[in-house]
Symmetry: C2
Subunit: 420 residues, 2 copies
């Protein structure tokens, strides 16, 4: 079984694009976050494996397939005839490799499951800290001297000149006012969503937690993995709910890259008190009665921007008939969906774990990573003298401006945000 | 200890940017891959925690700090005076929360270590499959019928019309020619780096593996985590090395986001055979002897583009005196570094684990995720008739073009690549 068959395909070489300029380096190709499926029903079918035969797909899928093939032809060293041109013994070896890939994929999926279990374990380990945090924020318990000393060390790491707080009189149980509202306002995506009216309700937000979904097959969501965000509110004049939850459900099977793919998101229905629905605007309209010819005033509700729309998430794209949408509408639907998923991830991975950093603003700087510093102009030293006086004193000449790592994502340009 | 002190700061509200337009949704903010540190020595110091006092940083750091403060002022609900304005009891509660954050961070770092251990465990579990893969690719062993059947299932999932290969005569041990060269050429970043001359050497590439670094403190790299890529070559006319390795070292401490941060990369020295250095171009120059006035021909080497420059990676930015560089040079250095790190990650996470998909071209499509479909124009159905004939037959009207998820990274625009 180990005799070497002469390979007639030895000299066959697919066309190469080695002199092809790539204007942008493919830095951000790797997607580690859960992805939005293009066509959610069968993610696998979108791929092309270099065959001439076109699978019997839905029209939209087939069209996409054509697009992808059209795009790639001549671009990358993958000619559609190359694999076919290989002699049968080579093709059989290749088919064997694909069989091995199935085994590798199984191991990869097992690894993903084990990592998810680890994350669940550590969420449980973190819960007592979240309990304690909530007790301090709400003023139920006082911070201990040990915690305060550790907090000082944490601050001084960022700012060597940070001054320790006086600990006499000793710390008392003292609530931090509007802790979560302030934290959310320091998230660059949420800041945009929170209206003045929302703030009055979000002042009553007392905690945010998350739980992983039970992924045993008899569970609520049919064993699909995912997580649930739980927002707790103190009694308020806006709605009856004590908690509002938002559930993000992943697809059962991980995607090609080994990461989860979103299935859909579900939000709690908000039981608004009368006239308090923050997701609606009311306008007064005059109506004339055709019979009596008398006029009356009626109030009409129309949807408006609000953070609380977060709890009525957009439908997955496969629930919308894409054919019926204009290109722009479909793009907007896709963007809304991605923003909704991204906010869910950010709550789970950033805001809940690092709430204090969002409150103080420390986290903002790290969220700004990914900005391309080519988007900024140099600012004259005179202009920001107020901010870095102490530093300027030591400067012989202006230091070269260094931005955060660039080219690592879809930059959010703060310059755009300043046009208020 | 649970008496509630009246909060004079209750009414203080930082300015809010809720009506600020964000032109781009912050989809790609989350960086899950290891990051390039801006100033590697002390990543923490770059952050701002809303204090007026400016820490005693290096000039470049202080300047950056000023830049960041300048950028954010008025942008996000973080006024530099807000934290200071809080009454002492609230400040103490807040300091306690920071102390809790230290404990949370410790748990997070422990989770990261456990995940890394899991990844190591699964790499070990995958090794027999990599051994087997190498035996099939090199023609040492034949694929089994079981593997070939599993390979058929794998193919047919992507393409329902995929036809099974005849298994009579039975599969023999048959090498797959230029397997790794073909796979590498199907990686969009590497395709750009591999020259015609490189191909002659890369035909001798027989395997690529990776190992995690030993992160015990007495190990070679002082216990820093990381990984090593190992490229194995058959004897060839270009260099003496049987293997070329490239080592990526992470910093000991994980970054703010909980991910690894790159420290540096190290490559093996290539022992080029005479006149075979693919990273050099030679030009012949005439020289005149000042004494004899006779001319002679000398050969001068100059660096040239080559995949093999991968083994002499760029220096980390903290080793370069950024002050001495022009803006453009520094940007280029940063880009080179990021590309080098990204290639390392792609070898480890994509190319090695899914080599067969790179060989067939299947992986290319997934690498194209992240392209923004706004970058493409619709193509008339007539134009790509060759590609989707079978699909077009069923089409009543052109289906709406659907691209891959967009806004998820720094799009590599294939249109740019076509200008050959």
């Amino acid at each position: 079984m180990s005799s070497n068959v002469p390979i007639s395909g030895q000299g066959i070489t697919a066309p190469t694009p080695q002199n092809t300029p790539l204007n942008q380096a493919p830095i951000a190709q790797g997607l580690s976050r859960p992805m939005v499926p293009v066509i959610a029903e069968d993610d696998e079918q979108e791929s092309v494996n270099g065959e001439d035969t076109v699978p019997d797909l839905s029209q939209a899928q087939a069209h996409l397939l054509g697009m992808v093939q059209g795009r790639l032809a001549g671009l990358i060293g993958k000619s559609s005839g190359y694999i076919e041109s290989l002699p049968l013994p080579v093709k059989l070896s290749l088919e064997g490799l694909k069989g091995l890939q199935v085994q590798q994929d199984e191991l990869q999926a097992k690894l993903k499951r084990e990592i998810t279990e680890l994350e669940k374990k550590y969420l449980e380990l973190t819960k007592p800290l979240y309990e304690r945090r909530n007790a301090i924020i709400s003023g139920k318990e006082a911070a201990t001297i040990t915690e305060i000393d550790a907090g000082y060390d944490y601050s001084v790491k960022d700012d060597p000149k940070y001054e320790a707080l006086p600990k006499d009189p000793p710390p008392t149980a003292t609530a931090i006012p509007e802790f979560w509202l302030t934290a959310l306002r320091n998230h660059i995506g949420l800041a945009e969503l929170i209206t003045d009216r929302d703030e009055q309700a979000l002042k009553h937000l007392t905690d945010i937690r998350y739980e992983y979904l039970d992924d045993s097959s008899d569970s609520e969501h049919g064993g699909k993995p995912g997580f649930k965000l739980i927002f707790t509110f103190s009694p308020n004049e806006f709605f009856e709910n004590e908690t509002l939850t938002k559930t993000y459900i992943y697809q059962q099977e991980v995607g090609y890259s080994g990461d989860f793919i979103y299935d859909r998101a579900i939000g709690d229905e908000i039981k608004w008190k009368e006239d308090k629905d923050l997701t609606k605007e009311f306008e007064i309209k005059k109506q004339r009665n055709k019979n009596t010819n008398r006029t009356r005033l009626v109030r009409k509700a129309r949807p408006t921007e609000s953070f609380f729309n977060f709890f009525t998430p957009p439908l997955p794209l496969d629930d919308i008939n894409l054919e019926d949408l204009e290109d722009q509408e479909a793009d907007e639907a896709e963007e809304k969906l991605e923003l909704d998923y991204q906010l869910g991830e950010d709550f789970k991975d950033k805001i809940i774990p690092r709430a204090v950093d969002y409150f103080t603003g420390k986290a903002v700087d790290f969220d700004m990573l990914g900005d391309d510093d080519d988007d900024y102009e140099d600012i004259d030293d005179e202009d920001d003298e107020d901010d870095d006086d102490a530093a300027s004193d030591d400067e012989e000449e202006p230091a070269r401006r260094r931005g955060p790592p660039k080219g690592r994502g879809n930059a959010v340009n703060p310059e755009d945000c300043k046009q208020q």
